[in-house]
């Protein structure tokens, strides 16, 4: 969404003073005969002060620099003026006060939830997280008040999620990671024993993303988003690569390599923790996950060559319940990570054959 700026009250006048907010130049100009006179004896930053009107009477002046230019004082703010905000300009310690505005924000409301992962309709009781993908960058600082989990009767599940002040976003602000409270998922810790799992097998739930959640331009979402799912028993089984089924394409084609994983996996991790290795290293190509993220497909940028290949899988790949390759979620570890990328990967060989 583009913010449309309306000039509005970008100028103000009082007595012999004219104040103008120059949007293009990003400055406020205070002009008048009075200014020229005063500048002869006093510095510019003593004569004019700019404040955010909404910040209250005791707030400090807006940071920036003042310069005298003939019959004008020009204020250049440290950060650009914000549309929709009224700036109070004080002349000579309040001898005159004028307010200018940097324009109006036109309400947008075009951002929406693009997708919620995992996409499956049936999710394990010990589900570890959701990913919310948005169509445009979002605003921080309100995430946990904008999501709720409802049971079948429409009642909100109490405190199901791990709330972190930092909020787990990608660098573009378009993907939000929503972890369940791990204390309630892990066995034999107090929150789990007292409150139990937030999800119960056999029941259905709905994740609701409020329309009130604001995007990076402070506009609410276009519509509410919902994901309804039923809950199946907990998955406490590590990922077992021996159960994966690889269907290799034929040499000379750019057909998709298809790996049936046997269960849905974390789409974000599967996107980069599984690689195809040719004789010269990792093959470039496009990855997609289908069938509720239980099938990993890879289309190479160039045609397959006949010969031995390998699927390289990081052992830190997780399924929907946080079980990793060869290691369940509920285990006891506290150790230094040694060269994660080099040593903690497993290889699954496969052959690409010439067409018959």
């Amino acid at each position: 969404m583009a913010v449309a700026l309306v000039v509005g009250a970008a100028t103000a006048q009082q007595a012999d003073l004219a104040v103008a907010l120059d949007r293009a130049g990003g400055v406020i100009r205070v002009r008048g005969k009075l200014v020229a006179e005063a500048l002869r004896t006093r510095p510019a930053d003593e004569l004019v002060r700019v404040f955010v009107a909404e910040a209250g009477a005791e707030a400090p002046a807006v940071g920036g620099s003042y310069a005298g230019e003939g019959d004008a004082i020009v204020f250049t703010p440290r950060f650009p003026f914000e549309p929709g905000i009224a700036y109070r300009v004080e002349w000579d310690e309040g001898a005159a006060t004028m307010t200018v505005r940097a324009g109006k924000v036109v309400p947008g409301g075009t951002t929406a939830v693009a997708r919620i992962y995992p996409t499956a309709d049936a999710l394990p009781e010990n589900l570890l997280k959701f990913y919310l993908h948005f169509t445009a960058p979002m605003s921080r600082g309100e995430a946990y008040s904008r999501v709720k989990l409802l049971d079948e009767s429409g009642k909100a599940v109490e405190a199901p999620f791990l709330e972190l002040d930092q909020e787990l976003w990608d660098s573009e602000g378009r993907r939000f990671t929503l972890f369940f409270d791990p204390g309630r998922i892990k066995r034999e810790v107090t929150p789990n024993m007292e409150a139990g799992l937030p999800l119960k097998a056999g029941r259905s739930y709905t994740l609701v993303v409020s329309r009130e959640w604001k995007d990076a331009k402070s506009s609410p979402l276009r519509r509410e988003a919902r994901k309804t799912f039923r809950v199946v028993p907990a998955d406490r089984t590590p990922i077992d690569l021996k159960t994966w089924r690889i269907a290799a394409p034929t040499a000379g084609s750019r057909g998709a390599l298809e790996v049936r994983l046997g269960e849905p996996v974390d789409h974000a991790l599967a996107d980069w923790m599984i690689e195809v290795m040719g004789s010269d290293g990792p093959l470039p190509g496009r990855v997609e996950l289908t069938e509720s993220e239980s099938v990993w497909r890879f289309v190479p940028d160039v045609a397959w060559k006949a010969g031995n290949h390998q699927l390289r899988v990081a052992v830190t790949l997780e399924d929907l319940a946080g079980n990793k390759v060869g290691r369940a979620f509920d285990v006891d570890v506290f150790q230094k990570v040694e060269k994660l990328s080099q040593t903690r990967k497993m290889m699954l060989p496969f052959r690409v054959d010439a067409p018959r």
């Binding site: 404040f51 955010v52 909404e54 910040a55 209250g56 707030a59 400090p60 002046a61 807006v62 940071g63 920036g64 703010p77 440290r78 950060f79 003026f81 905000i85 570890l128 997280k129 960058p137 921080r140 600082g141 972190l164 930092q166 787990l168 976003w169 990608d170 573009e172 602000g173 993907r175 791990p182 204390g183 892990k186 034999e188 810790v189 929150p191 007292e194 409150a195 995007d215 990076a216 402070s218 974390d266 974000a268 991790l269 996107d271 923790m273 690689e275 990792p282 990081a314 830190t316 997780e318 946080g322 509920d330 006891d332 570890v333 506290f334 150790q335 230094k336 990570v337 994660l340 990328s341």
Partner: protein
């Protein structure tokens, strides 16, 4: 932000002061976000930058000792908004740290809420005056937080959606400790970074530990930690998001070593620990901890070595605590001096106030 006993701080400064700031070079740090703050010796401010995946050490030059009393400031977010020329709802105060030398209070601020928000450090001096800490030309150095997995992610796709939130940072015995949590795999990292940072550090000097505690526990994220001496040995008290308080010796953070934490307190359900500070009152040591929903807790810190680990199989009682009933909505705490603690308090009307009061 994490604070430690002042005695410790002074001992560290005396030993390290010789060339700590010498390692910092003038210029403009490329700060993408200011997530968490911690002071080291000599007025050096460590800024944990989650979006930039780095820790930046900044020489504040703010070393003049002060014995001023703590300031009270109402509507901190609104005042910061005024200074930065934006609306109060566009200001997020991410962390607060008191400079132990000057008693000036530093705030880690986001100006804006979107991914393009500016990272700003605001100083509140002992008179209550707010100024932006100028970063255009400041002595600094930075270390990137390595993530072997993410490097692979970038290789193939050119970009990665993976980030890591830094949940706490602290200075202890010549190292910066950094706790973090990934936005993809569920792993909690604790990094130990020697300071001064090595020249052109690509993160190779950083040791990464995956945290866990107790049987049936796993990579739980450390929300806040406190370096603390127990029976003469430097420990880390780590408070996890799922509420246990765990201790483990810092000396155990060695390459290849398996470190086992001992759970010494369970601080209640549906609650997140936020900050911890240590202090002493009436000759006795205490730890103060503020929480998301269980208020501010005061824990006696005497004989922390005597507590047996809490496990579900036993009925061991952990460190007892009392809740400071009068203190509500405390979002940030940091020790101001030996007698008082500075706090950012969220009022019922949603305003954020800075207060400095006597330790309970």
């Amino acid at each position: 932000m994490t604070r430690f006993l002042f005695t410790l701080c002074l001992a560290a400064s005396a030993a390290m002061a010789a060339n700590l700031t010498d390692s910092l070079k003038a210029g403009k740090p490329a700060l993408k976000s200011a997530s968490v703050l911690a002071f080291g010796p000599e007025g050096i401010l460590f800024v944990g930058d989650s979006m930039g995946a780095q820790v930046v050490a900044i020489d504040t030059g703010d070393r003049k000792a002060s014995s001023a009393a703590g300031v009270e400031l109402k509507g901190v977010a609104a005042k910061v908004a005024g200074l930065l020329g934006t609306a109060p709802d566009q200001i997020l105060v991410n962390d607060m740290a008191v400079n132990p030398l000057s008693r000036n209070i530093y705030l880690a601020v986001s100006r804006g809420r979107g991914p393009d928000a500016a990272a700003v450090i605001v100083k509140v001096d002992t008179k209550g005056t707010l100024t932006e800490v100028a970063l255009d030309n400041v002595k600094h150095s930075a270390v990137s937080l390595p993530n072997a997995a993410a490097v692979d992610a970038k290789d193939r796709r050119g970009q990665s959606l993976r980030t890591e939130a830094i949940t706490d940072i602290g200075w202890v015995d010549g190292r910066v400790l950094v706790a973090g949590l990934s936005n993809e795999e569920f792993s909690s990292n604790l990094r130990a970074i020697p300071f001064p940072f090595q020249t052109a550090d690509n993160g190779s000097s950083v040791e990464i530990f995956h945290g866990a505690h107790g049987r049936f526990e796993t990579n739980s994220p450390v929300r806040t930690f406190l370096p603390y001496k127990i029976a003469g040995e430097q420990h880390l008290l780590a408070a996890y998001t799922c509420t246990p308080l765990v201790k483990f010796p810092i000396s155990a953070l060695q390459p290849g070593a398996k470190v086992k934490g001992v759970t010494i307190a369970e601080l209640g359900n549906r609650n997140r620990p936020l900050d911890m500070v240590s202090y002493s009152k009436g000759g006795k040591p205490f730890i103060l901890m503020n929480n998301s929903s269980r208020g501010v807790m005061k824990l006696p810190a005497n004989g922390l070595d005597s507590y047996k680990g809490i496990t579900a199989q036993t009925d061991v009682t952990g460190v007892p605590y009392e809740t400071v009933a009068a203190w509500k909505g405390v979002e940030q705490i940091d020790g101001f001096d030996t007698k008082t603690v500075s706090m950012l308090v969220r009022g019922e009307d949603g305003s954020l106030d800075l207060k400095t009061v006597e330790f309970p």
